[in-house]
Symmetry: C2
């Protein structure tokens, strides 16, 4: 049994899965793999997930070290989100999942 940040995991896979658990994190990371994105772009890409939920997921991904944000001193202010190296390392797993899904459910 592993302990990490007050939570218990049965193995490293269980822990790894927790970083991308839920409906949005994997989808957000997959889009950030294409390059830096602004909040509104991410909201559009995720088909209108609420501002509150998107903000929550981005904050969690940032705290977990999978993404980082850069605030550019412009008017109006510009904030962009990017994958960290640790985040980029997870992309191949998401890519396999996506291609698997396309292969088996291309008719949807």
């Amino acid at each position: 049994m592993l302990n990490h940040k007050g939570k218990k995991y049965v193995c490293h896979l269980d822990l790894g899965m927790d970083f991308i658990r839920g409906k949005w994190k994997a989808v957000i990371m997959c889009h950030l793999n294409e390059g830096p994105k602004r909040f509104l772009e991410l909201q559009r890409i995720t088909c209108g997930v609420s501002q509150k939920v998107l903000n929550e997921k981005l904050t969690e991904l940032e705290k977990d070290g999978l993404i980082f944000k850069t605030a550019y001193p412009e008017v109006p202010p510009r904030v962009e989100y990017e994958l960290t190296d640790m985040g980029k390392e997870l992309f191949p797993a998401l890519d396999i999942l996506q291609k698997w899904s396309v292969k088996h459910f291309s008719n949807l």
Copy 2:
């Protein structure tokens, strides 16, 4: 937006992720990749998840076409669970997640 079995998905990755969502499915599949396992073996490996929950997850994985079970006509009856070809195709993604987790959190 994709529709599958009455649920909506923003993209194929979102759909693919849904097949291994939750705490147990990925862990179960990872162990089944080593070879067929009986219910009690899986319960032991998953550190004592309740019989009800394990049964629920196995039934969902079977309905989704990721695993199948074989009942051997023995006394006492023997039932073994295995990955289908479709299930085996997901293993490389789980393997990346597991190795990523070991790499970054080997100290736990």
